[in-house]
């Protein structure tokens, strides 16, 4: 009889949801892969080591997929904190899926820079900055390029990979080129003309699995990418992957941290948000993965800062683009890419 009970109990434990098996920790959802590995090491583990609250990392896919989770859990939230791209977070905020946050509720918000405080609107503030870069094969592309114009050189025909919209890399590239051409990132006619001319040299408008890999396996010589992942790939490839922050400039990709509305562990969630925005956590993650810090009081080691947008000379190249304004242009730019750019780049 005792063994039957043991089997029944262990079966019940087996089928129970993971959250019921553990001591019911709070749950953070954000990106999987190398982001998860590094964020867990330098932010989650130290937070849990304090012993006051516990937080589990729930790997999400893209920001869009995470928003999908929030939408489906609207009436019964299973998550407490979510880190996602600012454009997607804005939707979550508008749909009432995440809570408003301010410095009264979380005093650490007062330590953030102006852009970090404002970018989340009434909801969660920015927790990381990243920026668009061009990655290239440093063995083949000599001397190291400084301008996007290098990709128009016929020498590289068929060796260029661009992530076209709706991928936000394509939107960011268009804005950078528009700003370089007209001084206004929204006036993109000149940018589209230049992109049409580049299109025949483009091998893929959707690099798979990503541009870094395709450059490193010699499928491409140039690709668009995000700085943090590019820096990690450069280290892993022993410097084979080159990174260009072009003279035309760059734009930030911003991740915000949000408290889920109706979070089952609201206090633990708030405690984690405060920790994630604090100077020690920001410093640790920047020095590990080269995302720019949003806490203005974080003192970053100079060698790491040089590789982020936190370095003054890099910061000076950041175009002041508002992603909430960009979202309004997204559909028309998406259509222009398809009808004007991709159609001009037949293979």
């Amino acid at each position: 009889m005792r063994s039957v009970s043991a089997i029944l109990i262990s079966t019940a434990v087996w089928f129970a949801p993971p959250s019921a098996q553990a001591a019911d920790p709070a749950r953070l959802m954000t990106y999987s892969g190398i982001f998860q590995d590094n964020y867990t090491d330098v932010v989650i583990k130290p937070f849990n080591a304090r012993g006051t609250e516990r937080l589990d990392y729930v790997p999400g896919d893209s920001s869009a997929a995470m928003l999908g989770q929030l939408r489906t859990q609207k009436n019964d939230p299973q998550l407490d904190v979510i880190i996602m791209d600012v454009t997607t977070a804005a939707l979550a905020c508008a749909e009432g899926l995440v809570e408003p946050l301010d410095a009264k509720l979380l005093p650490v918000i007062g330590e953030l820079d102006d852009q970090a405080r404002s970018s989340g609107g009434a909801c969660g503030p920015a927790v990381t900055y990243d920026h668009l870069v061009t990655v290239y094969d440093s063995k083949a592309v000599v001397p190291a390029p400084t301008s996007l114009k290098v990709m128009w050189d016929l020498k590289w025909k068929g060796r260029v990979g661009l992530s076209a919209p709706p991928n936000i890399q394509g939107l960011a590239l268009t804005a950078i080129m528009a700003h370089a051409d007209s001084g206004n990132w929204k006036s993109a006619d000149g940018a589209f003309k230049a992109l049409r001319e580049l299109a025949p040299a483009v091998q893929t408008f959707d690099p798979q699995p990503d541009g870094y890999t395709l450059v490193l396996n010699n499928t491409l010589s140039f690709a668009s990418g995000w700085n943090a992942r590019a820096q990690l790939n450069r280290d892993r490839s022993g410097g084979r992957l080159g990174i260009m922050l072009p003279t035309e400039g760059t734009v930030f990709q911003i991740n915000t941290i949000n408290l889920v509305k109706g979070a089952p562990h609201r206090d633990a969630g708030l405690a984690f948000i405060a920790y994630a925005l604090s100077a020690p956590a920001q410093k640790a993650f920047t020095e590990r993965m080269f995302y720019g810090p949003t806490n203005a009081t974080a003192v970053i080691a100079p060698e790491a800062a040089q590789r982020t947008a936190a370095a003054p000379e890099n910061k000076a190249r950041v175009i002041p683009m508002d992603w909430n304004e960009m979202i309004k242009l997204r559909e028309s730019w998406n259509q222009r890419w398809r009808r004007e750019v991709i159609s001009a780049g037949g293979r």
Binding site: S62, A64, A94, Q203, T204
Partner: protein, 278 residues
């Protein structure tokens, strides 16, 4: 209990499963398609046909619908043409390796779709095996991937094993005695095939083609990974709307429209097949 009642009872579990796993999600999808999307991308609860109107008034929607149909029809046709002789050989062979050969023919089904596509990328890529061979022979290299050509090749290959299975299942109607009778009456191999074998196997060819067509038009992985961002079909458009632009009503409306269109096509096919068999 009558025979009819027994039949209904036996079907009940499957019908319930179908209702829970298919009808209910489709009802949710249809409801989602009636919502609206704000300029900011936020989902606005509504009961409106605005999303359908917006999509129907965009020529690009019709273009991708047409491209999807042509791509699926072409891939299914190539797959059927390649699968037919293979299936006929497997059906007729008396070799003791027949079962092994059948397994080899459908072996691609044992590998994940993504892994198969990645294999094709290595073979068809600009620096892949085929272009390396062409280079060795001094022949100009070809762009075989990141375009429509790559997607056509990948789709035809991916649906071919299903077509082989459908053809093999239907070849049971092929009576060898009729072919022997034709031979006795002096018909040569080609004439025998054209006047006896092919007409008898036509219903299974139609079924195999239809299966290939349905699988090809709903395929996502191959156009997504082998199209290089140049190939826009219904499946990739639905994926982009659901996961990139977060326009869930548009994704739902396209899904509902695609389902309705495919259902109509299959209904038409079954009506034609029924009339043909009368």
């Amino acid at each position: 209990m009558t025979r009819r009642q027994t039949g209904v009872l036996l079907c009940l579990p499957a019908l319930l499963l179908l209702a829970v796993a298919f009808v209910w999600p489709m009802a949710i999808l249809a409801r989602m398609s009636l919502n609206e999307t704000a300029d900011t991308g936020a989902l606005v609860p509504a009961l409106s046909l605005a999303t359908y109107t917006r999509l129907a008034s965009d020529s690009f929607t019709w273009q991708i619908a047409w491209d999807s149909l042509v791509l699926a029809a072409g891939s299914a046709t190539v797959a059927t043409l390649l699968a037919y002789p293979m299936a006929l050989f497997l059906f007729r062979t008396k070799s003791r390796y027949r079962n092994l050969l059948a397994i080899v023919a459908i072996a691609p089904l044992l590998v994940s779709g993504t892994a198969r596509v990645i294999g094709w990328m290595a073979i068809l890529g600009d620096g892949g095996m085929i272009n390396a061979g062409l280079r060795l022979l001094g022949i100009p290299t070809q762009h075989l991937i990141n375009n429509w050509t790559g997607v056509r090749i990948g789709l035809a290959e991916s649906v071919m094993p299903y077509t082989v299975l459908a053809l093999l299942a239907g070849f049971g109607r092929l009576d060898h005695a009729l072919e022997e009778a034709a031979a006795t009456l002096g018909a040569g191999p080609f004439f025998r095939f054209w006047r006896v074998t092919l007409p008898l196997t036509l219903p299974s060819v139609t079924a195999g083609w239809m299966l290939g067509f349905v699988l090809a038009i709903s395929a996502f992985i191959t156009p997504h990974l082998m199209g290089g961002g140049r190939v826009f079909v219904l499946a990739t458009e639905i994926f982009d709307a659901a996961t990139q632009t977060l326009d869930w009503p548009a994704a739902a409306a396209l899904s509902v429209a695609a389902l309705a269109g495919l259902s109509a096509l299959m209904l038409l096919q079954s009506l034609v097949a029924r009339r043909g068999s009368v």
